[in-house]
């Protein structure tokens, strides 16, 4: 297996690592960097537990080799609060019941953050379509949708000032 020197910014910190060609971003985060907020679920890009941002776009860390993030910027749940609107989104999940058992929550927050950055005024159908790739297996999606709507409503109030 060839190894490669990769430079990547993780939650704002520049890193340089030598990685085997088949090292996945998920394993780099969890095992090498001890950023265990990003979870592994299905391992095939379906469940959304391992959602992270790469250059502000949401992707599955379980399907992404580290060699493809060379020179790019990664944000995980541990860095979300430093993103614009990240802390407000986390608060909304706590207040409106979006934070449930906790397994899917990091991925839900990362996806929701990417959604609100890409289309802050997404309607409910668009929110559902965007969030459909983040599965919850314990309580359901209403709290998550309420949390996102609450952030949108708060941001709308802010616009009026």
């Amino acid at each position: 297996m060839s190894t490669h020197r990769v430079r990547v910014r993780v939650n704002g910190t520049a890193l340089e690592r030598e990685v085997p060609a088949d090292r996945l971003l998920l394993d780099l985060l969890r095992e090498d960097l001890a950023l265990t907020g990003t979870k592994e679920g299905c391992g095939i890009g379906v469940c959304g537990l391992c959602s992270v941002l790469v250059d502000d776009e949401v992707v599955s860390a379980c399907l992404l080799p580290v060699i493809l993030v060379d020179g790019r910027s990664v944000v995980t749940i541990e860095g979300l609060a430093d993103r614009p609107g990240g802390a407000a989104l986390q608060d909304a999940f706590l207040v409106h019941g979006g934070f449930q058992c906790g397994i899917c929550t990091p991925g839900q927050l990362i996806s929701a953050s990417a959604l609100l950055a890409a289309s802050p005024r997404a309607n409910e159908a668009e929110v559902r379509d965007w969030m459909k790739g983040n599965l919850c297996r314990c309580t359901g999606y209403y709290g998550i949708l309420r949390s996102i709507a609450a952030v949108q409503a708060g941001a709308a109030e802010g616009d009026g000032r």
Binding site: M1, S2, H4, A21, D22, L24, G43, I44, G45, V46, G48, S51, V54, E57, V58, V59, S60, L63, L64, P65, I67, L68, S111, A114, D129, W130, K132, G133
Partner: protein, 285 residues
Amino acid sequence: MSFDYVVPGSLAEASDLLARGGPDAHALAGGTALVLMYKQGLLRPEKVVGLGRLAELRGVRRLEDGGLWLGAMTTLRAIETHPEVAAHSPALALAFASVATVRIRNQATLGGNLAHADPAQDPPPMLVALDATVEIARGLTRRTLPLGELFRDIFETALVPGELIVGIRLPPLAPRARATYLKFLPRTEDDYATVSVAVRLAVAEDGRCSDARVCLGSVGSTPVRARAVERALVGHALTDHAISDAAALVAQEIDPLGDARGSAAYKREMAAVCTRRAIATLRDA
């Protein structure tokens, strides 16, 4: 299990590496298909050739004839959201937006999607219905194929080792033509289709259908052109009865395999239903 990864700086070099590597060398674009198959033990590459530095494979461009060029290394999401794509035909954007989830579309590329040759994918039937041609390069040698001829069997294309998909070329949509993409998803919204139907129709001023393309996904080993349906539509007024009769002919064109998303018999029946609905939608649009 072990492979070497290389990132060539030119298309000629990439072709050369892939040609010399033979069947155990694989191109890496977005990685969604390759990584999945690697993790599942379905691929054991000896060499993986990264295409990330080949800038000429990237982008979406309007062509002088009003058509569209889509670069192989463009992500599905970038195509889906590109204004020139919606301007060509909203159905084209819809077909790209129908793939899995936004997460996958941010990573997966057009070229990877086509080279993977999974008959359950969404873009191929739509692109075939829009008369796409695929540009293929091997070093400095180029050739083009009607996109339908790229697909040979499940996960099998007409590409030989060393050949890479450069991009897709679409002619402009004729003035009276419209297109639609219908994906039948009885389980979850992010699933592969049970049946999908892409239709392009032109209706003349007298109300008769003057041109038709019908291509289906998930009902055979490749995207399937339903030529009998097309023939039954052209020259006829699109009454409910005529649409229904034409759509029923789809059953003889397809050879579905039963899978987790429906038995062969169910897919055959739903292919006719979905074809009828897609054609009626276009007539009524």
